[in-house]
């Protein structure tokens, strides 16, 4: 078996292009992934047409000010904002792809914002967003970016409003002056009201009907004072941001995105190398007409399958391990669990190689076998990466069954666990099972290589 492996290794080494690919491929992929994961994403480039007059009076509410012009500044935060004078100019930039989108702030934002805040009615300020609809993926990304920025601006305004409302409640409790535009109102406050009612109650005769009625008012005032005193700010703050998300992973794995991306890249490399080498190495024996000569007593068919499986799977694992090594220069990986990575890669490599060998038996010649392997590899990887709830439940069940029949998903899960230092038992057994099934299928169909 080792003589056959040595022979195959020598044949592989004779192809400079293949050797170069095997060395450069992991290096380049690792470099790309490393750079992509280690550098923060650039700020999205958005054109902003700010029609809000700079000299517009600020909206004042209970001593708190909301500057409508600052809304534009809030929107531009965390964006690469490109100031543009007109809507037409902005539309042109979006159409040409110079910016991802354009945001147009209306000139009546102050009036509408004041009306909304002072509860005078009318529609809230409307911000127009221009996107390029020719690329649905980009349009979706832009929408999420702009929505997030608008949510930030809304939150900034609502935080100020929360303070205003809290100050209103304090004034209701302790008394003070309210200002609604030009109107000024002085209020007594619940604490002072209760005090004065209690004084009036004490002056009324015991048991009189008037005293009883006034006592009911005093009790209500006391209740209001007790519940509003000290808790007004807390209540209003809770209303301004009532929901807080806390994420908990229920299956025990909370894989960071970087680890998932690294594992996916390594498994795709493993798949391409092991699957295609497995297919090519076995099909080569038929293309060179050596199969019949070998199995005529020189080599047992099981040895032939085993040698291809070990070499293709092993080379795939080495290439992917090298890829992880280079990625670790950019993304921190725990080298303490490197043995687990290697084990996961070896098991995955064996399963992919066995599948490639089975495909070689099916296709028989090198060109068809490698083409079949490549054509099968990409959809399988795609299917294995379809997230739950991205498709209907029934379709997802079908995808799960298909993915379970091929090595990509268990190999990915195994490597993720390896990278996180977890146990590999489940994925390892799955991969061993698949390797055995494919290897037996290849062995049974090996006679096809005779002719």
């Amino acid at each position: 078996m080792f003589r056959l492996m040595g022979k195959d290794l020598r044949i592989l080494s004779r192809s400079r292009l293949l050797v170069l690919t095997l060395i450069l491929y992991p290096a380049l992929v690792a470099l790309l992934i490393g750079l992509a994961l280690s550098r923060p994403p650039e700020q999205p480039k958005i054109a902003i047409v700010n029609n809000i007059p700079r000299d517009v009076p600020v909206t004042t509410l209970a001593g708190s000010t909301i500057d409508p012009a600052a809304v534009g500044d809030a929107l531009a935060k965390n964006l690469d904002a490109v100031p543009v004078a007109t809507r037409a100019e902005a539309a042109k930039l979006v159409k040409n792809g110079d910016v991802l989108a354009a945001v147009i702030l209306p000139d009546d934002i102050n009036d509408r914002l004041s009306a909304t805040i002072n509860l005078f009615g009318g529609t809230p300020p409307e911000i127009e967003v221009l996107v390029n609809g020719s690329d649905p993926v980009k349009a979706r990304y832009v929408k999420s970016v702009v929505d997030a920025r608008i949510a930030d601006a809304n939150l900034a305004i609502s935080t100020k409003l929360t303070k205003v409302v809290a100050s209103y409640l304090t004034k209701l409790l302790k008394g003070g002056a309210f200002t609604f535009g030009p109107i000024h109102i002085d209020v007594l406050g619940l604490q002072e009201s209760r005090k004065r009612i209690n004084e009036a109650v004490r002056r009324l005769p015991e048991g009189s009907a008037q005293r009883k009625r006034l006592q009911a008012v005093a009790e209500f005032a006391g209740l209001a004072v007790d519940n509003l005193d000290g808790s007004a700010n807390g209540i209003v703050s809770a209303v301004s941001q009532p929901l807080v998300a806390k994420t908990t992973s229920v299956d025990g794995h909370n894989t960071p995105l970087a680890t998932f991306a690294v594992a996916t890249a390594a498994i795709i490399s493993l798949m391409l190398v092991a699957l295609m080498l497995g297919a090519a190495l076995l099909a080569l024996e038929r293309t060179e007409h050596t199969y019949a000569r070998l199995v005529r007593g020189l080599v047992r068919p099981e040895e032939l399958v085993g040698s291809k499986l070990l070499l293709a799977g092993g080379l795939g694992a080495v290439v992917s391990f090298a890829l992880l090594g280079i990625v670790s220069l950019f993304v921190p990986l725990d080298w303490g669990s490197a043995q687990s990575w290697l084990l996961a890669l070896l098991l995955g490599g064996a399963a992919f190689a066995a599948l490639g060998i089975a495909l070689a038996v099916l296709a028989r010649d090198v060109e068809t076998a490698t083409l079949l392997a490549f054509a099968l590899a990409l959809p399988l990887a795609f299917l294995a990466l379809v997230p739950q709830n991205a498709v209907s439940a029934g379709l997802y069940d079908v995808i799960r069954v298909i993915s379970a029949c091929f090595p990509f998903k268990p190999a990915l899960e195994g490597l993720q666990r390896g990278l996180e230092g977890d146990k590999l038992a489940g994925p390892a057994l799955h991969l061993l099972g698949l390797t055995a099934v494919y290897a037996v299928a290849a062995r049974l169909g090996l006679r096809r290589l005779r002719t």
């Binding site: 003589r3 022979k7 020598r10 044949i11 004779r14 192809s15 060179e288 007409h289 050596t290 019949a292 000569r293 070998l294 199995v295 005529r296 007593g297 020189l298 080599v299």
Partner: protein, 248 residues
């Protein structure tokens, strides 16, 4: 039922049978490829198997080589084994001549692989091309490497399947000089060919197959005599006439 066994070997004046096939039969589905074929081969003999396309020549040779199992019949081979040179070149074109010979010598478990490889390079006259990749060799030289691989284990019998089909006359002459050296070393050779003149030149006996059936086995002169052709007719004319007379 098919049984493989070892034929006896001894060094007496009357060469013993070193390869014997009895009532060998092989079918592929409903198509009978070889039907009740029997033959015997002695040291120093060269047997040519001739017949039209689809006659079963390659299948019979593969059965004799052990590359295919017969459905029924027996094949007795010499203890030293049978060297087989398939119709198509069966070697690794990206490896050098030396690497191919060394690999197959190791896989054949030849006792002294390096010596065997050196011997084969000398026999085939390929010493100077030993370091060249097979892909750079001419068709004739590739065929010589193919034959050398078949002879690595020093077998008593060499089976050659249409060995000169792709060779030009000069390459063919070189190739047969190698086979002559094999025969001179008291080995036996069975070869298939479409070239009746070549069969007449290099074979001591002929075996004629058609549609899997064995129609004739014996010296070429007997075939000419049985064919009913006019005196002085060449072997090719006689074979064609013989096949027609046999209903093929």
């Amino acid at each position: 039922m098919c049984a493989d066994a070892h034929a006896g070997e001894s060094e007496t004046d009357e060469p013993q049978v070193i390869l014997r096939a009895t009532a060998v039969r092989k079918s592929f589905g409903s198509r009978v490829a070889v039907s009740d074929v029997g033959l015997e081969l002695r040291r120093g003999e060269a047997l040519a198997i001739i017949g039209p396309n689809g006659a079963g020549k390659t299948t019979l040779l593969e059965i004799l080589a052990g590359a295919q199992r017969a459905d029924s019949g027996t094949v007795e081979r010499p203890k030293s084994g049978v060297g087989w040179v398939p119709q198509r070149l069966s070697l690794y074109t990206r490896l050098t001549v030396l690497e191919n010979l060394r690999l197959f010598a190791q896989l054949e478990k030849v006792p002294a692989p390096a010596d065997a490889v050196r011997r084969m390079l000398a026999l085939t006259g390929l010493e100077e091309r030993a370091g060249d990749p097979v892909s750079t060799l001419s068709g004739g030289n590739r065929q010589r490497v193919n034959v050398a691989i078949g002879l690595l284990s020093d077998p008593a019998v060499l089976l050659l399947d249409e060995p000169s089909a792709a060779l030009d006359p000069r390459q063919r002459a070189r190739f047969w000089s190698v086979v002559d050296r094999v025969l001179a070393a008291r080995r036996a050779v069975i070869f298939t060919t479409h070239d009746v003149a070549e069969a007449a030149r290099h074979a001591t006996r002929l075996l004629v197959l058609a549609d899997g059936e064995q129609l004739f086995a014996g010296p070429a002169a007997d075939l000419v005599a049985q064919s009913g052709t006019a005196p002085g007719a060449d072997l090719e004319t006689s074979v064609v006439s013989f096949l027609q007379a046999s209903g093929h």
